[in-house]
Amino acid sequence: MQGSGLLAYNFWLALRNIRRNVVLSILMVVAIGIGIGASMSMVTVNYRFQANPIPEKSDVLHYVRLDSGDPNAQNDAPPNQLTYLDATALLRAKRAFREAAMSQARMAVVPPDREQRPFFARARATSADFFAMFNAPFAHGGGWTAAEDEGAEQVVVLSAPTNDRLFGGENSVGRTLRLANGDYRIVGVLDEWEPSTLFWDTSSGGPGPVEDVFVPWSLIVANALQRQGNTNCWKPLDGTGLSAFLNSECVWIQYWAELRNEAEHDDYVAFLDAYATEQKALGRFPRPLDNRATPLMDWIAEDGGVPNEARVLLGLSILFLAVCLINTLGMLLAKFLGKASEIGIRRALGASRGRLMQQYLVEAGIIGIAGGLLGIALTWAGLRGIDGLIDEDLGSFLVIDWKMALAAVGLAILATLVTSIYPTWRACSVQPSVYLKSN
């Protein structure tokens, strides 16, 4: 028999067998679908945490760290954030092609429509380069200039949802918005922007929509914005008040540099080392030199990667898939051994073991495909369930994309085929003469 003819025949027989044992077949599809749904939900979560959020620029974006930390600490890496003193010094030096200091903040927003109630917005205070560095898409206007930042001008960029909420999606550039401590001029409105994670701030970011408003970095001090995010201090503050905090060894600022090639990277790290050495002379930086400009994906792997909980759940979900597959194996074994007499007849009529195995593997493959398709639906439902369990709005973070959907079907087929090898082999190894005589 020609290969394609045999395949078509096997396909026809498989569909016939599935129809004949429809309840058992549905049970197998459901078992595989649930297993695939559970495991692919967790695979998707892990995958999304590790995915490259900005592939076109991930090679040139570097997270900057200076080791200004505690000399007695057992850390083998510098602190994850910078002090205000150091961030300000780096910004002033302007040694990278682009660079941005940043911190999360919380700002009260007074809507221009008096009917709307004021609300708190998630804000990011950052440097002018931020928008160009992270390819922020603008619907209207643009970011502020470095001069506006240095001049502590009260300008603001709104996210698309915020602009929708406050101005009904109209072009609001040029209008004034009252934020916590004054009137801000709107200079830009972002287009829809859904990076897979807020990778620019792993200390307080993670999955979720971009911040509601963006304001110049200088305002965090000039307007004493209400900061949010992690702050770590290894040394007591020398005094009280904002000034003491700004001059302390407390780290709370994320700092990014755009370094376009290896030479720029090496030059920048050399600059960081020179700066740290200079600071040592001033009595700071008590630890050995360890200053880094880490490429984005290395940084995500090092700090912002998969949470331990997600890893544990992934392991558990794979165990669950294994249990589902063992159940499927039992059902396949029962189903295929129930065909022993037909197998005996086919063997007598000239089917080799290989051909019969092919026939039953095709049947298992069809069940696997159906299980995979159900698995995609259950993965989608699972991700929605996880999204619902988490308070934060994860936006499009937990979405199954076509690559994951293909992977789900592929995994289902592969898992079912592997699972079916033993039942198929057992069924096809029957001694045909036994069944021919007793049938």
């Binding site: 028999m1 020609q2 003819g5 045999l6 025949y9 016939r16 004949r20 007499s341 037909e342 005996g344 007849i345 086919r346 063997r347 007598a348 009529l349 000239g350 089917a351 080799s352 073991r353 290989g354 051909r355 001694q431 045909p432 003469s433 021919l436 005589k437 049938n439």
Partner: protein, 224 residues
Amino acid sequence: MLSMRDITKTYRTELVQTHALKNFSLEVAEGEFVAITGPSGSGKTTFLNVAGLLESFDSGVYSLDGRNVAGLGDRELSKLRNEKIGFIFQSFNLIPDLNIFDNVDVPLRYRGFSAAERKRRIEEALERVGLAGRPKHLPAQLSGGQQQRVGIARALAGSPRFLLADEPTGNLDSQMAEGVLELLEEINAAGTTIIMVTHDPDLAARAQREVHVKDGMLVQSLAA
């Protein structure tokens, strides 16, 4: 056509060894109709299984249509079985959820014939056994005699060199049995070699030669 020399077949369990065939030798010429007789447990069915390449043997030489089958792999044995041998079983062994047409189609599918060729052969075989008008019937919708005729059509459709029949009338009443036997005689007359295992002395008498088996050995070979 079929040549067995000193074939030995032993079934072993942990406690018991059963010598099903002991130095069994038989020659069957092309076009012969041979009946294999003997009491229960004499080795008739084992002979049929070995002859039909459904079971291996321990020692001896077995040539089928001039080909020594010793050492052949599963794929080659299956091919040989498909091309050279047609089986007729006491319990018909039709696949219950396939209709008559599809049942007869089974060996042809493994043979690699085109769809048109398969259709031609199936229709011809069903015509030959008198069931041309019922291709869509399921086996359960037919009488025992008709089911056996389907079994014979299936065995004939691939134009095998010989038929192995295991008690082909054992499950039929005398009228149906006579019809089936007449059909076998007709097939033999057309040139197909037939080896038939039977308990029934009257049936054996209709064959050209009767071979009597006892305790796994051929004890008598008589021309009818």
